[in-house]
Amino acid sequence: MTRRWFVEAPAERLAGARILIGLFAFVYAVARLPHFARFSRFDPASFRPVGPVQLLSSPLPEAATWSLALATAAFGVAFTLGYRYRFTGPLFGLLLLWVTSYASSWGMIFHTENLMVLQVLALGLGPAADAWSLDARRRGTPSPEPNGRYGWPLRLAATIAVLAYFMAGVAKLRHTGLDWVTTDFLRNYVAYDALRKKELGSPYSPLGAALASYPALWKPMAAVSLTAELAAPLALLGGRFTKVWVALVMLFHAGVLALMMILFAYPLFGFAFVPFFAIERPLERLRARAGRGSSETRSGSSKTPDRDPA
């Protein structure tokens, strides 16, 4: 168990996860800046703090929310580039945790953000800037050998993803039981969602509304979705288990987008599953293609263990 948790991994693998996940989180923080900063139109009476925001008894002034949102974006750059990482890694995780929690403290929880925040925190607490970073360039030392210290943050981030999907499956069984699969639950849910969005003037899925008229489609879709969630722990076995599960979950999110117009961008575009794979290999190929990297660090591919990290 301990050996599997602290499995040796190249520093470049953890660094690759830092760059990709950090880049997503940074772009997300910038693209959603008003969502994280502008709360003046909200009624203070509807302030329902969640997570660390429960430390507050009343909302922050708008100057503070803007400052925190801008600081989050700025530390996102430092996180992604690996600059002063021992300080900026955990701090970016904490800032992202704060601004996302604050945005979810007004009566609506944004479940599209949990996984990203938790994985950024996991990577921020590990040595993810020992390679492919401004810190590594400043030190000027050769890239380190594969080590268990680069394995556990990836294992942790992968297990967080598995746990999130497994818990979503458990929630369905707990609240609805097997009725989730054996009845018209999903069909009714999608129809309800389409109606509500349309009547609130929001973009909705005409496809979901149209397919709701075909009852036979929905039970198989519900079965596949619930299976994907409850089978999540198998993804930690590695190899084909991981690949099949990741493909299934990405397909599930594509379905959620097509049928309900709900975008879970982080898992849909694969960022949530980066910690499962030897991501340094395609990144090294990209670096080589760009004609950089050969003189900066030793080639990471020779140090890359053959087995899949998961």
């Binding site: 139109r41 969640v50 389409a194």
Partner: protein, 147 residues
């Protein structure tokens, strides 16, 4: 890998995973620790919804959430429900705010804040007529009133 690094990594991992799994015990949703209950609770066969519509030439269309309160549709739903709960005056205030924004968007017609009840599957089959309707406020699309 040193013993110190192993203890640190083990401790961080154990604490994070225990914290993430902890909502299972209470079945309590939150952020960032959640039971991930999205899509897990049954929806009723009928939907009663307070919303804001623009009536123009005898047809009504829902006003986009960005012109009502926020671009987030569920936050807007909460804001409309709060205005409706606040009584006729609060509903009329919301109506006038939306009418002013629509005027800025060069729209014409009448704004209505109302609660409609629909049969979900009948609606997606094409009959979008509400089963029941209650009007809370109505106001023309006009420029904002000066304070």
């Amino acid at each position: 890998m040193t013993t110190h690094e192993r203890i640190y990594g083990g401790l961080i991992s154990a604490l994070m995973l225990l914290a993430i799994a902890s909502p299972l015990l209470e079945d309590e949703d939150g952020f960032p620790l959640s039971t991930f209950p999205m899509f897990s609770r049954a929806r009723p066969g009928q939907l009663t919804l307070a919303h804001v519509v623009l009536v123009q030439d005898g047809t009504s269309e829902p006003v986009p959430p960005g012109l009502v309160f926020s671009s987030e549709v569920l936050q807007t739903k909460v804001a409309i429900a709060r205005a409706v709960r606040g009584g006729r005056r609060a509903a009329l205030e919301l109506c006038r705010e939306v009418a002013a924004r629509l005027h800025e968007s060069r729209k014409t017609g009448t704004v209505e804040v109302r609660t409609d009840r629909y049969h979900v599957l009948t609606y997606v089959d094409g009959d979008e007529t509400p089963m029941k309707s209650h009007l809370h406020a109505r106001c023309p699309v006009t420029p904002p009133r000066k304070p």
